[in-house]
Symmetry: D4
Subunit: 148 residues, 8 copies
């Protein structure tokens, strides 16, 4: 059985592609809350509003950390997706967190980010460009079967 | 004595400002190689050239990792600087790495990056905008003295 | 699945409120023995009486530690409740113990204790005033759903 | 050589008594910032003021944590002093933090707090009432000499 | 659920008494191989005979260590029984091993061994004289119920 | 229950002999992908071809590491088989990796390799020459029964 | 440089023999307090008398643990001496403690204790009968020189 | 300052080349005993002869492990040299041991061993063919200077 954490980009359907592709494999997938508005507002919505944008964001990031830390710490494999938009520092942060814990890391990133991601790639055991390749790695790791 | 690792941006003189400001304090500073060209090319220059840009970068990132991992692992405090340019995923990666090791983190970042850095800030014990504030924290931690 | 340890105050029904509110969520709750008399006397009752009040208490505290350490060490989330009465040093001790183990901590405390708890709050990922808010955090962490 | 962290009460001269009594012994002492006002205000004074008392305190507690965590993590022995005033939850928090790290703990507390501190005492290797007894333990541990 | 390792004396029925007394409690018990002859000879019987008594014993002790290390490392509670006969250094060794791993230790020993076991007792959370007391502790830890 | 990782030689049927012999025992077996061609080519087949033999091999070794590290880290017992052919440095590497993690190691090797394997043997709790002996150790560890 | 902890028997001069024999080698030696009376009474002498022999011994064992735990945890090599007299369970306890921490252990014991010590021996990297042999191992480990 | 352990081949002067080349750099070098005969015989020479070649070798390997484990555990960088002769399983074992401890590994190996070493290379941050390249990496890591 593999426990796989899917970190990073939340604006495309890459998680669905990985999870769908992996059907039939003995894998448990976890990841962050992917509802962008809920993720931003969870702290204030639950624990009370803040006047300051900084503390609004801070409270939300702290609550989300309960989920993401557990997800990464329990994972065998952490897949970190870098997309086309936004700063995505949280994705790189997750990669560093996973690396320090000795997790197996797969980075899923487009070729144009190659140079900027070289330190993150250097901590990975696989660098893929397509969700399908992530599935192929997971299948191979579990079953020894290569894609046809 | 404090061991402080200065991670992130290598194109401004913020490290000099912190180190100069901290003169007289019992602090050992470490950080990455800040010669951009040497940092990019060290792998190929020492271990032999690569046809592929990916592996050229990879070899360099691996060699640099010898220095950065030791620097972070031995640090009491990791200061992570986010500047105005570039993707800076290596800075966020270092922050995640430091967080997983339980290091005390100070983030040095401009206000406009606040929202994008909220997960990184949530892992920090201090978020500063000016190098002088980093020095003030280090002085206070060592001596208990606040700035006048 | 979340493993949640409910530490602190044993004289009000806050644990019941949290557990009831979390019905339907995939959570295992643990906590200390909440029968005050049994908790005080367990050491002497099982291992033999002591003339000295100190050793009577000591034997009980040691036996209770078997349960509390396991509970905290296996928890994903440690909720620490500070109430209105007693010194509650055991609650703060549990919070420190959980913090050193890197556990996600939620503090449940009344506003009037804010200043005295600032070091404990600084180690928490969420500070709530009502048991309902604890439930809301746990639900969000597991399902991504915010309270209506 | 012993590295000893002196945690807890900052309103009496117990630290001075311990340090003076230990003169001539090969001990390095550390502890929190004991200037109460500086300790409360350090976060806002360095990183900028907050409208909310909660965040004012929070920023200060985070900055102080840089010092206290390092102090406890590097200590061989953590002495935790409970006095007559205040809630002192930070002292109990430090004791829990030290216990989880496997540190040798000495508690220095008055007899009237015995029952309320029983869980903290149960994690200690010595429970003293007088600073002189703390010195006597440290001397014995280093030299094998008992008080005359 | 508790995982309990029963270490020490193999010539009396104390393990049976504990296991029988704990019927109905959610406990998994483990322990060493208690067939004395098999335990002494397992190395040579499986891996081949030795001319030297030392290596005969050594091979057996190594094979037994596969079982005992796993048993202790997976245990929540390690009960260490000292009886009337033999040197029982393996029991004290197990206690030290468990202590360094931070396990909850219960020592089961007769009063006449008190002084000689004081260092072992100091590492324990409970010191019992009767198997029944061990059962009572385990029941209390799991259910909060004291013996009638 | 035992979790056993079968490392090393992939050209003979020793794994089948161990697994068959252990039928009826409560053991989960894991090991590397034993399809030699798939194991060599997995990196390039999934993540894209390389011009350089070095990077072709490197990509494959990285992907295989996802499986082997998990296998070793989760194992109670790591059996390392050295056969007659090839350099088998990966087997010795796995043994070193397992030793540093404190795993129980059984080496399965022919007598002619004794001197060259003395450092590896010194890290093992059992050194066998026949797969049957490995089964006998596993049975004894689980059940206490010696071979007839 | 080697840090060596000398555990066990305190009634013969074996420590002096080892330390004298190792003169000129870059070794720091540590060990327990070897003044038997001081070691037994330190708890009560410093922290106050006890009516019960058990708690008298307990307080002393706790205070001594401050020294012995630090000594073992900082050691590269733990030498454990078993002599002719007493139960010596503290020596075996130290050996188990050191083994769980992954320390290099040398046992110094007479041949007649071989069978009773087989589990302790199995955790050692060297089993010596004479203090001179301990010195010879330490010299070889530091300098590569064998005795003439 | 760097602490570098030089593991592997003991029949050529590669250690001297690395150490000479690194003169002037702030590096402490350690490594195994390189006197082949002493290394083979140290166990029997110090602790007494064995009839069996297996136990003769075993005793020596155990004594050598005191030095090599300390050397690897304290190293920042482990250089593992594979030469032309012998099985060199101890070198691969050291590499695996270092990898599991998260050490930075540099492999020094001839091109003809590339395929056989691919798993070891995959755990390294640098793969060199010449001792001079090892020196160049160490100088770069310490000073940021590349070779001319």
């Amino acid at each position: 059985m593999l426990n796989v954490y899917l970190s990073g980009e939340i604006h495309t359907d890459w998680r669905d592609q990985v999870i769908d592709g992996a059907q039939g494999l003995d894998i448990t997938f976890n990841g962050p809350v992917t509802d962008h508005a809920a993720s931003d507002d969870c702290g204030a919505a639950i624990l009370g509003p803040e006047d300051s944008k900084y503390w609004h964001d801070h409270k939300g990031a702290m609550v989300n950390a309960i989920r993401t830390r557990k997800g990464i710490e329990e994972a065998d494999v952490v897949v970190v997706r870098f997309g086309d938009k936004y700063k995505q520092w949280n994705a790189a942060f997750d990669a560093g967190y996973a690396a320090a814990l000795g997790k197996s890391i797969i980075v899923l990133s487009p070729p144009e980010h190659q140079h900027a991601l070289k330190e993150v790639h250097a901590a990975a055991l696989g660098v893929a460009e397509q969700p399908r390749q992530v599935v192929d790695i997971l299948r191979y790791v579990l079953t020894g079967e290569l894609p046809q």
